[in-house]
């Protein structure tokens, strides 16, 4: 009996110590928005969404059709699992890139009694009406990676594509000392992230009159398209190409291979896709990488929990991102050495800048 009592006391004590510690995780945290927004950070008052835990939360995902989306979705689920104390039920849907399916998915999630919806919209326009409807009904919608057209959501967790396009282009122009010919390899024509990265890149280009864009070709964010397009561009322009602006590591990895086959070791940009990082390292290219981090999925869950607890959140949450280069320039410097980012033992399709615990890594 005494022993039982002792155990009970010990348990009660450890619970009282651990619970606030777990709760502390979702208290106000620094997000990049607080540091980098040039304007006062636009905060959203979430008092009206405050609810008593445990919560039911739904994640309406556009798709898991490429490895970036797989990693991002896993970040969401892994983070939700960490907050079991606050989350009673966590539903995930996959719309397979079909907006009309995602509208149905989202309605289902609401019917299941979700207190909040995390939305990664298949397209900005098609998902706008449902997001607006939920917003008006008082169900908080938190967008991640892709938003909807209107401002009818509580918060958008993202990393700026404009910034990404600019950073890549600044590095490239500085590498070329402001003079030379480049080719641009964006993602998919009309896709939000691809077009925004181009806009950012062109803003920078306007400041470099002696950098000439020889050609710009979309590559569907595919390694094979990247290689095919780059090979043809090399034939077409030969040694005239002084640098390559690729907006992602996907086509970047293919382009590096084509350049290497042709013996052209010229500066190239990309993202934190292991295949790209490894090839650059293996062939010895001057290169830079800026992540569009998959960990924004985890940040979206943390933001959602804040909303449900009535804690203020920024309207736009910018996640931190890692820049790395093999050669630093005046304005773009590596946060970590390239060799720390490239992992020879990891699969080529992995995104390095993730916060996934071991068991959530896709194996």
């Amino acid at each position: 009996m005494k022993r039982l009592l002792l155990v009970l006391i010990a348990t009660a004590f450890s619970v009282s110590v651990l619970v606030p510690a777990a709760g502390a995780q979702v208290k106000l945290q620094w997000s990049r928005s607080w540091l980098w927004d040039q304007n006062p950070v636009r905060m959203v008052n979430t008092a009206k969404f405050k609810k008593k835990p445990p919560y039911v939360i739904g994640f309406s995902n556009a798709s898991i059709s490429n490895s970036w989306r797989v990693f991002m979705a896993r970040e969401v689920q892994a983070e939700a699992e960490k907050h079991k104390d606050l989350i009673k039920k966590f539903y995930v849907t996959d719309a397979q890139d079909k907006p009309e399916k995602q509208i149905g998915d989202t309605e289902d999630l609401v019917a299941k009694g979700c207190d909040a919806i995390i939305l990664s919209a298949a397209t900005m326009a098609a998902l706008d009406p449902i997001a607006t409807r939920l917003y008006k009904r008082g169900i908080p919608v938190i967008c991640v990676d892709r938003r909807v057209t209107s401002d009818n959501f509580v918060s958008f967790v993202t990393a700026s594509n404009f910034t990404q396009g600019r950073m890549m282009m600044v590095w490239l122009c500085e590498m070329l000392k402001g003079k030379g010919n480049i080719v641009m390899l964006p993602g998919i024509a009309g896709a939000g992230p691809a077009e925004e990265r181009i806009v950012g890149a062109k803003e920078v280009l306007s400041q470099y009159p002696d950098i000439k864009v020889l050609d710009m070709q979309y590559t569907s964010w595919s390694p094979s398209e990247g290689k095919r397009v780059m090979a043809a561009l090399i034939q077409s322009y030969g040694n005239k190409i002084d640098g390559v602006w690729a907006d992602s590591g996907l086509q970047g990895s293919g382009a590096v291979e084509a350049l290497n086959d042709a013996g052209l070791k010229i500066p190239i940009t990309g993202e934190d896709l292991n295949a790209y990082l490894l090839r650059v390292q293996k062939y010895g290219f001057p290169a830079m990488s800026i992540g569009f981090p998959v960990k924004m999925g985890a940040e979206a869950v943390r933001t959602t929990l804040k909303v449900l607890q009535g804690i203020q959140v920024p309207f736009i949450v910018n996640v931190t991102r890692t820049v790395t280069t093999t050669v630093d320039t005046e304005d773009v410097k590596a946060d970590v050495p390239w060799s720390d980012m490239a992992h020879p033992k990891w699969p080529s399709d992995w995104w390095i800048d993730n916060t996934l615990p071991e068991k959530w890594l896709p194996k």
Partner: protein, 328 residues
């Protein structure tokens, strides 16, 4: 049935039409030569050895899938195989994952991959012949199933690397000629010999010409049609290995779009959907046209998207050309 026998008569009619028929028969090759000359004239880069090497290298995987596709379409009755691209990608991830980049493990793992392709073909064939599922539906269903299996298998992020030998197949050279091109040549010859010189090949043409005649002649039509789907599965698996070797990255979407490109190449090459007419040489010409169009568009600094418009136009033109021929 009546319609088919009418077509049979018309075939006989067209074959005696002389020069016109000759032109129609070799139209695809004439178009290929025109395109080649056009490309050489408008872009000096086109004729560079490295560029021709690139084009041929890229054509190899599509060519290999299209060979199998030709067999299937030759059997007629709306036969086609939409599951090829799914098989290509799945074989690629199987190899990357299970060899771990080691040549020593390649033979058993690659055999497994090829077996997988053949099995998918077998399922397609059985569904189509035994259950009378229209080929479009059967192979579409199989395409989605294989895709799903692949995603379950890789959890969306395929891992592993390709052994050096696979890279040699897809990206290496023997002398000045890409390995993949030599391989495509060998596969084409084998396929042409099977179609022209063996009893099996003749039966494929007979079934495509008129399945009822074939049945009456005592051919085991179900067996032969199923075999063509198995060939298509096998060539898709082989093409998957070559394309994976060319890219060198384990990707869930290796060969995306190849199902339609291969059908387009076959149709451009003069193999008609009614079956019984055409062959692999025309198909290879169709493959070269698709790849050259892509290359020329890039060399001319046109947006990549233009290729779809031109490719679509060429397919429609080719199809309408062949339909006119068979109606006359």
């Amino acid at each position: 049935m009546q319609v088919e026998s009418t077509f049979g008569k018309m075939n006989a009619l067209t074959s005696v039409m002389g020069i016109k028929a000759l032109f129609e028969k070799y139209g695809i090759y004439i178009f290929l030569i025109i395109l080649f000359v056009f490309a050489s004239v408008v872009s000096p880069a086109f004729l560079r050895p490295k560029n021709l090497q690139d084009v041929l290298n890229q054509a190899a995987a599509l060519g290999i899938v299209s060979i199998g596709q030709t067999f299937v379409i030759l059997t007629g009755g709306g036969g086609l195989d939409l599951s090829v691209a799914s098989v290509m990608a799945t074989v690629a991830v199987i190899i990357a994952r299970n060899t771990g980049g080691l040549d020593a493990l390649l033979l058993p793992v690659a055999s497994l991959g090829l077996l997988f392709g053949v099995l998918i073909g077998l399922f397609n064939g059985l569904l189509i012949t035994k259950r009378r599922v229209p080929p479009f539906m059967a192979t579409l269903g199989m395409m989605i199933i294989v895709q799903g299996l692949r995603f379950i298998y890789t959890k969306g992020a395929p891992k592993g690397d390709f052994p050096p030998f696979v890279r040699f197949l897809g990206n290496g050279n023997i002398g000045p000629i890409p390995t993949s091109v030599i391989s495509l040549g060998v596969f084409t010859i084998i396929a042409a010999v099977i179609l022209r010189k063996t009893a099996f090949g003749r039966k494929v043409y007979t079934i495509g010409g008129n399945i009822h005649t074939a049945r009456l002649s005592g051919y085991r039509t179900d067996l032969i049609i199923t075999a063509t789907y198995m060939i298509s599965g096998l060539t898709a698996a082989i093409a998957g290995i070559y394309l994976a070797g060319w890219i060198g990255i384990s990707d869930n979407w290796v060969g995306k779009g190849y199902e339609l490109d291969s059908i387009a190449a076959v149709v451009m090459g003069g193999t008609s959907f009614e079956g019984g007419r055409g062959g692999v040489l025309g198909t290879i010409a169709g493959v070269l046209i698709i790849m050259m169009l892509y290359n020329v568009i890039l060399l001319l600094h046109l947006p990549v998207q233009v290729q779809y418009v031109i490719k679509g136009a060429v397919i429609v033109l080719a199809a309408s050309f062949y339909v006119r021929r068979s109606v006359r």
